[in-house]
């Protein structure tokens, strides 16, 4: 058991536990807060995987924007901030079964793959992943087109969101 493994196990436990809380807790604000914990755990995982940029971006975008939007939405869509009734459908056990089945199937499937237990190659010393990522994102030989498409998607989503949620005059 190395320190890295201990850290991973703790993080994983936090992620899974909080994710479980996200999907089960009745209080939606709590669910959103638990989601933040999950996302933070994922950010830690990214950091341990030497993906510092992804980790920080995870914090900025997911926690700083998405999670907060969620909390907003929860607050806007609840007249009173107390929940009533069960948080889950009546047929939740069926969903649980399907989810378990998916998990089992995925693990079974991946465990049959040869590279399942392979170890990480040594991280190249002096390799600047952020610079490499930056080059990959804007280089015409790499991903500039998907990158631009993603930006267009974001713009479209922005416009769409404004249009959909816009309260016209005269509406309630």
């Amino acid at each position: 058991m190395t320190a890295a493994q201990i850290i991973f196990l703790i993080t994983a436990a936090v992620i899974l536990g909080s994710a479980f809380m996200v999907v089960t807790t009745k209080n939606l604000v709590h669910a959103a807060l638990w989601l933040i914990v999950t996302l933070f755990g994922a950010a830690v995982l990214f950091a341990t995987l030497n993906a510092g940029f992804i980790a920080v971006v995870q914090v900025v975008i997911y926690i700083g924007a998405i999670a907060i939007l969620f909390i907003f939405a929860v607050m806007l869509t609840r007249r009173s901030m107390t929940d009533t009734g069960p948080g889950l459908n009546r047929g939740w056990w069926l969903s649980a079964a399907i989810a378990l089945l998916t998990f089992g199937g995925l693990v079974w499937l991946v465990s049959g793959w040869g590279g399942f237990t392979k170890a990480a190659p040594a991280y190249p010393s002096g390799f600047d992943a952020v610079a490499a990522l930056a080059h990959a994102l804007v280089s015409p030989e790499a991903f500039v087109l998907p990158f631009e498409v993603a930006s267009v998607l974001l713009l479209a989503a922005l416009v769409g969101a404004v249009y959909i949620a816009f309260q016209r005059k005269g509406e309630e």
């Binding site: 320190a3 709590h30 900025v60 907060i68 909390i71 600047d128």
Partner: protein
């Protein structure tokens, strides 16, 4: 190993050696040493925080033509400790309907979001983590503060608190954009997102190369900090105290302390990004001297925040958002490519610093001119309308 050239590294190695000597695994020793380091840093920061309370009260009283704390200890230096004791012995009140867990967690998270920033604050050349995503880290941690404020506002079960936190979220999300843009400029100049690298690259202070970026950062940082004139989260006359309305005792104390420390931290970042950080005379020979320079510069920046806070009146929330979306964001989007272009053009020339400064002045003058004309137009329209009706 020369202690004075890098005392932190010296102590770190020594402590790791000690732990290893106790028979610990190398990994565990390293982790433990890191924890010790973090603990020491946080302790020092918290102690600094205590003195910040005193400093803040002294500054405000000077601005308001008072003397400020002067009874407890010399120059009232012991006054903060008295305040702390008072806060600690206060009753721990939970209003009806609070979400206890979240309610308790919020001030901690608030404090944490500030303390996390110190991880990347380049106190000296050897102190402060040179993350290669340092600038983004600053932004990201700021998001945690937002979460803390939302948690506080929501869990208090108080509509003022909730309103305050809503405002805070709107402000934070909005002002993050010019802030990121302002921070992009030192990043572009230095060619790195590591804050220590940015400091190391500042042969000329960036306030000279990019005074407009400095102003942009100052404004957006003031908004991010929630300090006057942008302290709408806790605007007394409207929301009583905003998100921490229901907090009392030491929990309120944490909010208060975190606000002051946040301000000082951002003063530190201003120092790092625009004032040359720890750089100063003889720093190459005695790196520890950098700490002194840095503290001085950060204090000056902190005093700047205080100056702003006690000089400007609070503005309305819609005006504040207008200012951001209609002025700061477009301005930032002009400024970043402009300065990047000027930087690319002038970098190799002998009049780099002067040229950049003049370019900034020119852009600033153009912006003010445009604003002036617009204002004249608006005014003419309003007056015309008045005349017609009159």
């Amino acid at each position: 190993m020369d202690f004075w050239s890098n005392p932190v590294k010296f102590l770190d190695d020594w402590l790791t050696g000690v732990f290893s000597g106790w028979g610990m695994a190398a990994d565990a020793a390293r982790v433990l040493t890191a924890f010790v380091g973090i603990l020491v840093l946080i302790t020092l920061v918290m102690v600094l925080d205590i003195f910040l309370v005193w400093l803040e009260r002294k500054i405000v009283s000077r601005f308001q033509d008072r003397i400020g704390p002067n009874r407890v200890g010399p120059f009232g230096l012991i006054q903060p400790f008295a305040d702390i004791i008072k806060l600690i012995i206060k009753e721990n009140i939970y209003p009806v309907g609070v979400d206890k867990a979240v309610f308790n967690l919020a001030p901690v998270l608030m404090m944490m979001s500030v303390l996390l920033l110190w991880a990347v604050l380049p106190l000296t050349s050897f102190l402060g983590l040179d993350l290669n995503v340092g600038v983004l880290y600053v932004i990201g941690v700021g998001a945690l503060g937002t979460v803390a404020i939302i948690m506080a506002g929501w869990s208090s079960n108080n509509k003022y608190a909730l309103l305050g936190s809503f405002r805070q979220v709107a402000v934070m999300i909005s002002y993050e954009i010019p802030m990121v843009a302002a921070l992009l400029i030192p990043t572009i100049f230095a060619g790195s997102m590591g804050i220590n690298s940015i400091v190391a690259a500042q042969d000329t202070w960036y306030i000279v190369l990019a005074p407009l970026a400095f102003l942009l950062f100052l404004v957006s940082a003031t908004a991010e900090l929630g300090r006057a004139p942008f302290d709408l989260t806790e605007a007394e006359s409207e929301l009583i105290a905003g998100h921490h309305i229901e907090y009392s005792g030491m929990k309120f104390g944490l909010f208060y302390a975190s606000e002051l420390l946040h301000a000082f931290t951002f003063g530190g970042f201003i120092a790092a990004f625009f004032f040359g950080g720890w750089r100063g005379p003889w720093v190459e020979a005695y790196p520890a001297l950098g700490l002194f320079y840095f503290i001085v510069k950060a204090t000056i920046a902190y005093w700047l925040f205080g100056w702003i806070k006690y000089t400007f009146p609070r503005i309305r929330i819609d005006k504040m958002l207008d200012l951001n979306w209609k002025f700061l964001v477009p301005f930032a989007f002009v400024l970043v490519p402009f300065l990047a272009l000027m930087h690319a053009l002038l970098r190799e020339t002998s009049f780099y610093a002067l040229g950049m400064f003049l370019a900034n002045i020119a852009l600033g003058w153009a912006t003010i001119e445009i604003l002036r004309r617009r204002a004249h137009g608006e005014r003419a329209k309003v007056e015309g309308a008045v005349e017609m009706h009159g």
